[in-house]
Assembly symmetry: C2
Amino acid sequence: MNGDLELRPPYLLFLGDAASALDCKTALGLVHWRPEECVGQLRYTNCRVDTGLPDMDIRQARRAGARSVVIGVAPTGGALKPDWESTLAGALDAGLDVVSGLHTPLDAFPRLANAAYRSVARLVDVRRPPGEIPVANGKRRSGRRLLTVGTDCCVGKMYTALALHHALRRSGHDATFRATGQTGIMIAGRGVPMDAVVSDFLAGAAEMLSPANDPAHWDVVEGQGALFHPAFAAVTLGLIHGTQPDALVLCHHVGRTHIDEFPRYPLPDLVTAIAAYEAAARLTNEQARCVGISLNTAGLNSDAREAALVEARKATGLPCVDPVATGVSDLLAALEPLGAAS
Amino acid sequence: MNGDLELRPPYLLFLGDAASALDCKTALGLVHWRPEECVGQLRYTNCRVDTGLPDMDIRQARRAGARSVVIGVAPTGGALKPDWESTLAGALDAGLDVVSGLHTPLDAFPRLANAAYRSVARLVDVRRPPGEIPVANGKRRSGRRLLTVGTDCCVGKMYTALALHHALRRSGHDATFRATGQTGIMIAGRGVPMDAVVSDFLAGAAEMLSPANDPAHWDVVEGQGALFHPAFAAVTLGLIHGTQPDALVLCHHVGRTHIDEFPRYPLPDLVTAIAAYEAAARLTNEQARCVGISLNTAGLNSDAREAALVEARKATGLPCVDPVATGVSDLLAALEPLGAAS
C-alpha cells in the first residue's frame, strides 16, 4: 500500500492523569486487540486508570523495546497539557515516535516540533491522511473484501471488523484488518483516516486502502458513519464504493431509535438498511451482499439479548451475532461460500 | 455566509497565448454569464481566442475599473508559464487580485508569492475551500432550494443552474446562484469548491453554502458529480444532504451511455436516476422531488433534439428542456407551486 500512515510498535501507552476509563478508549483498545505490541503504561501519580500493563517511564520503556509512545488518553478540551508536552518531548529525545489521534496536529506544540526537529523520531498524527491519494478508477480487483456498515455511528463497526479479522486468522484464512478511523489505525498500526480525506479522493483512498490481493485473501475493512447520517453519509458512500465489498455486515446498537445527537433522524429498520447498503455497494461490485448482522447489546440482560438476536434473525433471515457476547463464528460460516470462490 | 471565497469584480480576463476556445472555458463562461463584470481581455500577440471584449494591458484595465485579473485559460500541464508569471506579478503590483482555478496554488510560484506579499492585492485560489466549515446539523431551514443533479459529470448541471437562476430573477423571484465548482465560483464571485472539502465537512459545507433565507427565496445550487459515479458519488451525496433541496433538476447528455472515462459503468435510465436522487434527498428533506429534466443535446439536429425531448417527457412524465435550445421556462413553471408555499 502506498503512502498510508504506518506506526512503529511496540508501544508505551501514555495515560497522563486520566480520570476515567472512558477517556482512555484508545489505550484500552490497544491493550485489548494488540496486547503483544504494548510494553507498558506511563501514568502520573494522580492517574485513576490502570490498563494492567507494567508502569514505566520513558527510559524503562526504551529498554523494554518500545519504539513509540501512544497518547492513549483524550485530554479535556482536546489540547496537550504543559506537563504532557514535556514528557512527550522527552520521548522524542529518547528516540521514540509520538503517536496522536488528537484534533490538533502535534507540530502545533512548539516544544514537540523542536524536539522532533532534532530527533530521528517522528510526530505521527493518525488523523492526517496520506499526501498522495489517487482518484478512484472503479476497476474490479482480485481478493475478497468485507466492510462493516451501520445503522449509525458508534454501533460497533470497528469492534466487529476486528473480531471478524481475528476469527478469520484463527481459522486459517489469510486476512488483513484495514483501519479507517483513529483508534482502528492505532490498533492496526496503519490505515487511512477516511473522514480527513478531501472528498474528491474518498473512493480513491478506499481503493488504496484495500488493494488487489490473492483471490482467497480477505480485507476486513472498518466502516465509518452511516448512509442514514445527515452529516457523514458521504464518507460512508465513498468508503463503500472504493472498497468494493463482496460482503457487508450490518452493525446496530439495540434500542437506539434515532441517529445519535440528531433526534430528527430516525434509524431505519434492519431490512431497509440492508437494502440501502446493498444498492450502494452494487455500483462497484454487483455481487455485493449483506451476509449478517452484528448487534451491540451492551446493557441488556441475557434474555433480552437473546430476544434481540432472535428478532433480528427473523426479520432479516441472516445470521445475527453480538461479537462480545456470542462471538462471530456464525458470521464466519456465512463467509465460507464466498471465501471458497475466487 | 461565513468564510466562503469571495472575488472582487470587475475582471480583466487573462487569456495568455491560448490556442483554442476549449482552453478558455472559464473566460468564455464569465463573458456569457457575467458580461457586466468583465472589462477587458489580456492576450499575447500569438493568442488565437477572442472573447469579444476590448484588449487591455494591466494599466488600462486598472483605469477601466478592474479589481481582479482572472486566469481564464487552462495552461497545458496545469502550470503557469514564466511570462504569465511576470504579467500576473505586474497585476498584483498594480493592486489587482489574481484569481485562479488551477490545481497548483498561486503561492507556489515564488514571483507571485513575493508580489502578493508586498501588495494589498490577493492571490485567490478558487479550488481552496474556506477554513472554518462546521459539521452538518441536519436541521431544516427556511427558504427554497433547487439542486441540479446529473446522470454523470459534465452534462450541464452548472449551465442549467445558471439558466434557472437567470430565469427566476427575470420573472421577479428572489434567487441566488450557489456555486460549487471552480468555473461556477468565478461566475458567481463566491462559493465553496465542494470537491476540495474534507469529507467529514462535506454536508456542513453545503449547509453553509445555502443558509436559511426568506421563505420565498430560491437558492439555485450547482450540482457536482453523480450518484452513479464510482469516484465522485460521495461529493454528490454530501451536497444533496447539506443543501436539503426542495426541487431537483436531473441533467443528462443525450447519447451518453456510460460514465465518462469509466466504460464499465453504464448510465442509469432517467427514471432510475430520478428515484435514486429523490431517495437520497429525502433523508434531509422528505418533500424533495425531481421537477424536471435538462437535456444537453449539443451536436443533434433539431429533429433529433425534439425527439429526445419528447422521449424524456414520455419516460418521466416531467417537463424536459434543453436550456440552450429551448430555454428553461417549462422548468420554471414546475417550480411555481413550490415557490408559492412557504
